[in-house]
Amino acid sequence: MKKLISIVLVSVALFGAPRVGDKAVEFNLPSLYDQTRFVKSKSLHGRVILLNLWASWCSGCQEEMPLFVKLQKEYPKKKFEIVLSSIDNEMQGALDFLAEVDKEKILTSLYDGDKKLPKTYRCPGMPSSFLIDKDGKIVKVYVGSLDEQAMKELKEKIKVLLGS
């Protein structure tokens, strides 16, 4: 009986979605702007990351994007980086939207057409954002779009994670 319970628990742990405290999912995705350039999650270790899973057809994602641009401008990318992962079926929609909102291409934008990340994270809603610390651990999960108030709280968390 104990064996059976442990098998069930292990399999749930193996197939369950990553949660707060777990290691963030490793990825290797192409840049939205340059399909030949891939970004590995390992290359981002050592900095605080806000991984945002978004789509151009999602109105909540559109609402929070200008706030992300504003937020990224406040921190150097070597310390804190916002990584967008578009899950659009066709990347043109994402490109068109970002051309208006992020003209300076300040946000790191990746393309996940196969939706590997939301599938692995089992996103309960769109958009979903994951605050990841310097060691690659998930600190906080945000489901739904972030408003000004949530941004303030996020900034406090970033401050703590950066140790400043």
Binding site: K115, K119, C123, M126
Partner: protein, 72 residues
């Protein structure tokens, strides 16, 4: 005890079956398209509302929000 284990295993296995297809939030791209809305053409629905108003001599009855009885 055996029955409970069998039921638990059956429930566990059924979670992986193809029968329980659920559209996840990240798979709703086609649902988000304008043509998928109930009244995709705003002008057309406005026109239909106007025709309904003339025909039935009551406003608001073309939706489930009001009864169209004119009693309010």
């Amino acid at each position: 005890m055996k029955t409970i284990i069998i039921v638990l295993i059956a429930l566990y296995m059924s979670a992986c079956s193809q029968k329980l297809v659920r559209v996840m939030p990240y798979e709703k791209e086609y649902f988000a398209q304008e043509k998928m809305s109930l009244s995709p053409i705003a002008e057309q629905s406005e026109q239909e509302g106007h025709v309904f108003l003339i025909r039935e001599a009551s406003a608001g009855g073309n939706s489930s929000f009001q009864g169209g009885c004119g009693c309010r």
